[in-house]
Each structure stands twice: as structure tokens, then as C-alpha cells.
């Protein structure tokens, strides 16, 4: 997949996620660093309910699950491949 779409995270998006009854989460991937930006209660509940799984572990786990390969091309576009 290839995209040139670039977004700016709006505060109301985080609010939308945090207030959502569904298990929604938003992660920021900045190079090797992965951090949780926002999550709904259900999402947090599910995460916390998983024995021995910290948030960061889960993010890393999910990344491994999808075996993502993210590479940045010279024209600024981002290639994303998911092969579950």
C-alpha cells in the first residue's frame, strides 16, 4: 500500500477515542519507538485484563503479529505491508 496522505492529530480525535464505548486505541510509531496516544476504556480494560501484558508489550506484540514492514521512500511516501 502506498499513500501520500499526511494528517495532523486533532485533540477531538483523542477525545473521540477516549469516550468511545468500543475498544479503540491510537498508537504513534516514531522510528523504533511505539507509544500509546489515546485509548478507550474498553481498550484499556482489555489490555489490562491480559495477564502479564503491559501496554508496551502489547504494542510490540501487535506489531509482531502483523509483521509490519514500514519503510520510508525517498519521495516521502510510506510503504506499509501487513502479512498476518
Amino acid at each position: 500500500m502506498e499513500t501520500k496522505e499526511v494528517v495532523t492529530l486533532q485533540e477531538n480525535e483523542k477525545t473521540f477515542i477516549e469516550k468511545n464505548p468500543l475498544a479503540l486505541g491510537l498508537l504513534r510509531i516514531d522510528g523504533p519507538r511505539v507509544s500509546l496516544v489515546a485509548s478507550s476504556k474498553s481498550f484499556a480494560s482489555l489490555i489490562q485484563g491480559l495477564k502479564g501484558t503491559s501496554e508496551e508489550d502489547f504494542f510490540l506484540f501487535s506489531m509482531r503479529m502483523f509483521r509490519q514492514k514500514i519503510s520510508r521512500k525517498s519521495n516521502g511516501t510510506t510503504m506499509f505491508q501487513a502479512s498476518p
Partner: protein, 438 residues
């Protein structure tokens, strides 16, 4: 980022049981260079899980099937019940040179014009569609990329819910194999004929035919004439010189073989397919001159086929011709010598004549000098030559028998030193003499 994904996995919960979850995600580029990953995580119940798993399995199977179809080298196609194309794989499209399926979809073989006679193929496919039979590797022909090719095709009915809804077929190009088989069949017919011709040629030919392997100078094959020219039977020759030219041409004979090899090497260097040769063939008691031609074998360039015949008569004729030519070159010299002698003879102040005797046989002409013709009543003679009969007319009638006798026995009478004869005078017709003849 519009990369989206979805997957199922199981996570162990606090009670130690694995719970199925579906995770859907979307990845977008964030201003500043980082990525935002939106996640939607929800637990699945058993029915939903099975449904999703079946769907995923179906997708995997479909993906696998498509990959197999697109990577196999076998051309595969499928048609509807009306004999029209519904699809084909990459190998099929590549074979005919079509970039996409669009060129064939909804068309039948007649529309495509692939066959010079489409009826056998149509009938074949109609039987598959109507009778539900399968065909396997049926040979046929089709036009592809401007050339008629040989193929073998297999077809089976496509049955859904007990009803034939179409057919699926495959074919392989066997043009190369077919042509090779045809060539082999042709050669199988040709081979016995050529073998028979070869054997007949070898058996009946009046010329010697042999095959020589140059690296070791072995005789691979030879007809009877080869041995006849050697003055040996085949068995005798093989016992004395077992297939070896080196042994036959051992010793002084070797120079004849060297001459032949020199010609062969020269032909090889000049990349000539053949060369001619002449050499002296030694035999038990005498020798022959043989002359012929040698050709390098088409199968193995180190083998040479030689064809030659006895050229002794030709060589002897050439030798004689050469001698004759040498003698001919001497003719002007002899003429000059003769003129000088004539001049000398003519200058002698007495009658002088010469009689040429070849191999003991006297010539029928006598050459006489000017003094003789000035004194004797003789008919005119060219270059001083007078026939013996004319010469006799010049003699006194009583002396003619004696002269004839002396003429016939010039060498037999070893004691003959001189004879005296009377000649008729040119001035008054009286007989001069006696004059002596030696």
C-alpha cells in the same frame, strides 16, 4: 496512511484461557514524520470466529489458487456451457500473446481463429459439455503468434450441483517433440535405405573406400577393393596390420603416409572439407600408384573417408608424356644440328648421301648433297631427300639389284666397306662411274 489490516489472534486472559480477538488497524502518516496507528480491538464469540476463519481460509485458498494458476507453465482455460471463454491463466495468455483476458472473454475458438479446422475441437468440447466425459492429452494444432503449433489438450467438465456448467482445460505445446518424432520417423525410414546403399557401394565399388581415424591412424572401415589393391585378402591384411596404417606404412613406406598426412593437415588448416591425394602404394612384390579424394566425416572431423583407385596406368602415361615433351623440346636443337650438317655435306666436293637406320630398319629415303644433284640425273628433291626407288632410277640398270641388296642388308653384312655403282650423268645421260658407296 490508508494501509488497513485485519487479523485474528488468541490472547491468554487472566483466567488462563485463550480468547479470540479481532484486531483491525489503520496506519496513516502524521505531520512531523511519525505514523499513527488506529486500532480497533474486539473479542469474538465462537460463531463469529468460525465465520471469520472460514472467510480467511477461503481467501487464503483463493490466493493460493490464483498463485498456482499464474505461476504454472501449463496453459489453463475455462469455458461456459456455450463453449465460450470465461477465463485463462497467465501461461495461456502468454502463449497466444494476449496482455489480458479481455481478448478472449465471451469468445469461442472459432471467433479466435486458432484452428484451420475448428470442428474436431468443437466436437471434442461439446462431448465434454454434453456427455460429461474427460479427454486427456489429445493431439491437435493451433495458430499462435503467426505459426501453426502442435499441442496436446486435456479437458474436463466443470460440474456444480450435479450440472455441467462449463469445462476446464489445459494444453501443452509439443511442437518440438512432434517435430523431433517426425524427424526420427523419417530417419528410421531413411536409415535402412542408406545402410543398404552404403553396403552395396562398399561391396560392389571398383574403387577403394576406407575410413581412417586420423589421431591414431587406425582403419575404421574398408571395402574389399582396398585389400585387393594391397594384394592381400581381408583376413591376411588384418592379421598382418591389424587395422593400423602405421604398421602397414612402417619403415621406408612411411614417407608415402607422411605425404598423405601432409595433405590432410594442410586441408585442416585451410578448413577445407576435402582434399585430393596421390601416393605410391607398396605391395608384396610390386607397387601401385593410387589417386583419389578424402573427405572429413560429418560426424567426427577426426575421421576421414578416402576414395581412391589404381592410377598406375595414368601415372605411366603421364611419365611417357613427360618424356615425349622433353624430346619435343629437343626438336629445334636437332633441326639446327641437321641444318649445320646439311651445310657441311653440301660443301663437300663429292657426291655424298646418308641413309637413316632406325632399330635396324633402313629408311625409305636417302639424303643427298648438292654435288650429287649437280652431277647425277636425278629428279628434284626437297631438302635433298630422294626416295630409294627414285635413287635406283639414277643407277645403271645393271647395278640396281646390287644396290637393292646392299640397301636391305646394310647391317647384316659386317664386312661391307664399299660398293661401286654407276650413275646417269645430268649433262649427257651417259653413266658416270663407277662411284663407290659406303
Amino acid at each position: 496512511m490508508n494501509g488497513t489490516f485485519q487479523s485474528l489472534f488468541r490472547l491468554k486472559d487472566a483466567s488462563g484461557h485463550y480468547q479470540p480477538f479481532s484486531l483491525q488497524g489503520k496506519l496513516v502518516n502524521e505531520k512531523g514524520g511519525s505514523l499513527l496507528l488506529y486500532l480497533f480491538l474486539f473479542p469474538l464469540d465462537g460463531a463469529t470466529l468460525r465465520s471469520v476463519e472460514q472467510k480467511e481460509e477461503g481467501e487464503r485458498q483463493s490466493l493460493l489458487f490464483n498463485q498456482i494458476l499464474s505461476t504454472t507453465k501449463t496453459a489453463i482455460f475455462w469455458k461456459d456451457a456455450q463453449w465460450r471463454f470465461l477465463g485463462a491463466n497467465t501461461a495461456f495468455l502468454d502463449y497466444y500473446g494476449f496482455p489480458t483476458e479481455a481478448a478472449i472473454l465471451g469468445k469461442n475458438d472459432e471467433d479466435m481463429g486458432w484452428h484451420s479446422d475448428p470442428n474436431p475441437y468443437k466436437n471434442d468440447e461439446l462431448r465434454v459439455l454434453k456427455e460429461g466425459i474427460s479427454t486427456f492429452r489429445v493431439p491437435g494444432k493451433c495458430f499462435a503468434k503467426g505459426e501453426e503449433r502442435n499441442i496436446v489438450a486435456s479437458k474436463s467438465p466443470l460440474i456444480v450441483g450435479g450440472k455441467i456448467i462449463g469445462l476446464v482445460g489445459s494444453f501443452e505445446d509439443v511442437t518440438l517433440e512432434t517435430r523431433q518424432k517426425e524427424e526420427i520417423a523419417k530417419l528410421n525410414v531413411e536409415l535402412p535405405r542408406r545402410v543398404h546403399e552404403h553396403e552395396r557401394l562398399m561391396a560392389t565399388s571398383a574403387v577403394a573406400i576406407a575410413t581412417i581415424h586420423l589421431p591414431d591412424l587406425s582403419l575404421l572401415e574398408a571395402n574389399d577393393t582396398v585389400y585387393e589393391m594391397l594384394g592381400l585378402s581381408r583376413n591376411e591384411a588384418q592379421a598382418q596390420y591389424p587395422h593400423s596404417l602405421k604398421e602397414f606404412f612402417a619403415g621406408e613406406r612411411g614417407q608415402e603416409l607422411d605425404r598423405f598426412l601432409l595433405e590432410a593437415r594442410s586441408a585442416i588448416e585451410q578448413k577445407k572439407p576435402s582434399f585430393s591425394f596421390t601416393f605410391h602404394l607398396p605391395r608384396k612384390k610390386d607397387s601401385l600408384w593410387v589417386s583419389g579424394a578424402a573427405s572429413f566425416s560429418a560426424e567426427d572431423q577426426s575421421d576421414v573417408v578416402v576414395v581412391y583407385r589404381d592410377a598406375t596406368d595414368i601415372m605411366e602415361t603421364q611419365r611417357r608424356l613427360s618424356l615425349a615433351e622433353n624430346e619435343a623440346k629437343k626438336v629445334p636443337t636437332l633441326s639446327e644440328e641437321n641444318a649445320r650438317l646439311n651445310s657441311m655435306i653440301d660443301g663437300v666436293p663429292s657426291g655424298l648421301g646418308t641413309l637413316q637406320i632406325i632399330d635396324g630398319v633402313p629408311a625409305d629415303q636417302i639424303q643427298l648433297n648438292q654435288f650429287f644433284f649437280s652431277r647425277v640425273d636425278a629428279p628434284s628433291a626437297k631438302d635433298g631427300f630422294l626416295s630409294v626407288s627414285a635413287f635406283l632410277e639414277c643407277l645403271h640398270p645393271e647395278d640396281r639389284d646390287n644396290f637393292a641388296l646392299a640397301y636391305r642388308n646394310p647391317l647384316r653384312d659386317k664386312h661391307l666397306l664399299a660398293k661401286q655403282f654407276r650413275f646417269r650423268s645430268r649433262t649427257n645421260g651417259a653413266y658416270l662411274g663407277p662411284a663407290s658407296a659406303r
